[in-house]
């Protein structure tokens, strides 16, 4: 009896120590999530129902004014729609540029696969800011911008400061995020299926459309999500390459929080942006759970 209760006491002590250890292990990260993620998002949500104080900032209130103004005044919604079409165009651009590349690396590169993937990681690893501002030099009037202007005979022709410059920056900045998942799905593709399709007399295009594309679909959707989401919230690229003229959601947010210091209105915009992200992700997760996408290539 004595021995048994001693064992029980030891067990309880060990369990207690183990629970303590678990708490100690998780506490710092948990604290960070609570203070620097949950708290800011809660504050922004609360502020979005408030009023702007006279000298800027937040004044406590409960009103839906910010949302009503945001959703009913077309000029307030403009940055959202600009962001939306830029992000869609950017995603399509990444796909057009990235799919043939991913296909090439997965099926043609053989032993150089590792090297080619590393060569995709290197630009992705280097500073986003530096890679973006470099296009100021490349597209400027002394280089590509001026060159095209000369060709079409228009000395006033400019690329910088236009939505097109922003689009180039978006595709350039996020391309690797599209290629990685595409490459992973295509790499795992059973090549005999393509052979079989060819043997059955299918034309090249039919094989691509009916065999390769369905296999690549999970990677294609994952890649699209991975590039679409950050493009929707992009701030640096339009600020630099668009001269702030292509006004995206990110720029509108900075304008509201920093320039006009209308925190409640900015908060309402931030909440709307987060809701759009959550809807996009939910649709994606729904697809994953329906089994349309392989679990192994999903983001979540």
């Amino acid at each position: 009896m004595a021995i048994a209760s001693e064992h029980a006491a030891q067990g309880a002590e060990r369990r207690g120590r183990s629970a303590l250890l678990t708490t100690v292990l998780i506490a710092p990260a948990g604290l960070w999530y609570l203070v620097l993620l949950v708290a800011p998002l809660v504050i922004v949500t609360v502020f979005s129902f408030g009023n702007r104080a006279r000298n800027g900032g937040y004044e406590a209130a409960f009103t839906l004014d910010n949302y009503v103004r945001l959703l009913t005044q077309p000029q307030r919604m403009e940055p959202f729609f600009t962001s939306l079409w830029m992000a869609v165009a950017g995603t399509i651009g990444c796909l057009l540029v990235g799919l043939p590349l991913a296909y090439f690396i997965a099926t043609r590169a053989r032993r150089r696969k590792g090297l080619l993937i590393l060569m995709l990681v290197i630009p992705f690893w280097t500073s986003f800011l530096i890679r973006t501002y470099s296009w100021l030099i490349l597209l400027g009037k002394d280089n590509l911008g001026g060159f095209i202007g000369g060709v079409i005979g228009d000395p006033e022709f400019r690329i910088l400061g236009t939505p097109f410059a922003v689009l180039i920056g978006l595709v350039y900045g996020y391309l690797p995020l599209m290629v990685f998942p595409l490459y992973v799905t295509l790499e795992r593709m059973d090549r005999t299926l393509v052979e079989a399709s060819k043997d059955l007399g299918a034309a090249r295009w039919a094989t691509f459309r009916q065999v390769t594309l369905p296999i690549a679909l999970p990677g294609l959707i994952t890649g699209s999500i991975l590039v679409f989401i950050p493009m929707m919230g992009e701030y640096v690229i339009p600020a630099i390459l668009g001269y702030g003229r292509t006004f995206l959601m990110g720029n509108a947010l900075v304008d509201a929080f920093i320039q006009t210091r209308n925190w409640p209105f900015g908060s309402a915009m931030a909440v709307l942006l987060i809701v759009i992200m959550l809807i996009t992700i939910s649709v994606y997760v729904w697809f994953v759970n329906r089994g349309r996408l392989g679990r192994d290539v999903s983001v979540l």
């Binding site: 501002y133 998942p181 990677g219 640096v236 900075v254 992200m277």
Partner: protein, 312 residues
């Protein structure tokens, strides 16, 4: 027996008939795939090459090439603003990387030991921290700091303000999540039998961790540390909103220069940043591929493979 053979012969010859046409297109498609891929790599590297090249440009105007000089590097290194920004960048990136790696790894280990609901809640927050756009996190964090510092300073007479500690704290959020994901991926792919064998041989939990678990997790921890350092060293968006007077980092210096017009000095500073971050990647690649070779297989792709896998 012979009948099927005859039937097969029909389509086979018919196919041979079209084969020549297919082969013709084959060549075109192969050529196009190659050319396209080569152009994409040129597209990816051109801006980087341009920045490096123009950092050696003798002309003050950054956009026209006139001749070679190393002058801009000495200008940049003797610039007090650049020196201060460089020091700040390290004061931010290093503590951030150390703490984020520590906390992220700890959480990954701790999450193995908690009930499923808690783990799912934690996972949700991890993904939210990665999914919510950086600009939203940056502005929300700024509002949090501004509001809470205001309240605290009024109540206690302290003078809390934005500076290097707030940048480190804000960067750590994202980086903890990255380290957590990397280490957990490694944990789930780990061979549990070794841990069990260690316990069967009466090794203490601490000794099992030190000699079995930790060495297996090391590649993920190293990759996480290097990613955290690089992210922090390169970050502009979060840094610019939660930095205070005197805590400007190199990306903030560069952004300011870009707004006023790029000079060769900007390119020299940028090139030095590129060299430093690429050195990080090279170290990671070296450590991880050597580790993979020693443990026989696994992460043969090293750092690159790990990043590519993670994003997929």
């Amino acid at each position: 027996m012979t009948a099927p053979a005859v039937r097969v012969a029909g389509p086979a010859t018919a196919r041979r008939g079209t084969k020549a046409g297919v082969d013709h297109w084959n060549g075109v498609v192969e050529l196009w795939l190659r050319a396209h891929s080569a152009l994409v790599y040129a597209f990816l590297y051109l801006p980087i090459v341009v920045v490096v090249l123009f950092s050696f440009n003798a002309n003050r105007l950054a956009t026209i090439w006139t001749g070679f000089t190393l002058n801009w590097y000495s200008v940049a290194l003797n610039d007090e603003v650049v020196q201060a920004a460089l020091a700040n960048s390290f004061s931010v990136a290093l503590p951030n990387a150390i703490l984020a790696t520590l906390f992220g790894t700890m959480a990954a280990l701790g999450l193995q030991r908690v009930p499923k609901t808690l783990r799912l809640g934690f996972d949700a927050l991890t993904y939210v921290s990665i999914i919510v756009p950086e600009i939203v996190i940056a502005l929300a964090t700024l509002v949090l700091f501004a509001t809470s510092f205001g309240i605290i300073n009024d109540a206690t007479g302290l003078k809390l303000q934005l500076g290097i500690p707030t940048i480190v704290a804000a960067h750590m959020l994202f980086n903890i999540s990255i380290v957590l994901l990397l280490v957990r991926a490694r944990l789930s792919g780990m061979d549990r039998t070794l841990v069990e064998a260690s316990y069967d041989l009466y090794a203490s939990p601490w000794r099992t961790f030190r000699q079995i678990t930790f060495p297996q997790l090391l590649p993920a921890i190293v990759a996480g540390f290097l990613l955290a350092f690089t992210f922090s060293f390169d970050d502009y968006v979060i840094t610019s909103f939660v930095s205070g007077p005197g805590s400007s980092t190199l990306p903030i210096f560069i952004f300011g220069q870009v707004k006023r017009g790029v000079t060769p000095e900007t390119n020299a500073v940028a090139t030095m940043m590129l060299v430093l971050t690429l050195a990080m990647l090279a170290i990671g690649q070296l450590v991880l591929t050597r580790n993979a070779r020693r443990s026989g297989g696994g992460q043969a792709g090293g750092m690159a493979g790990m990043i590519a896998d993670q994003s997929a």
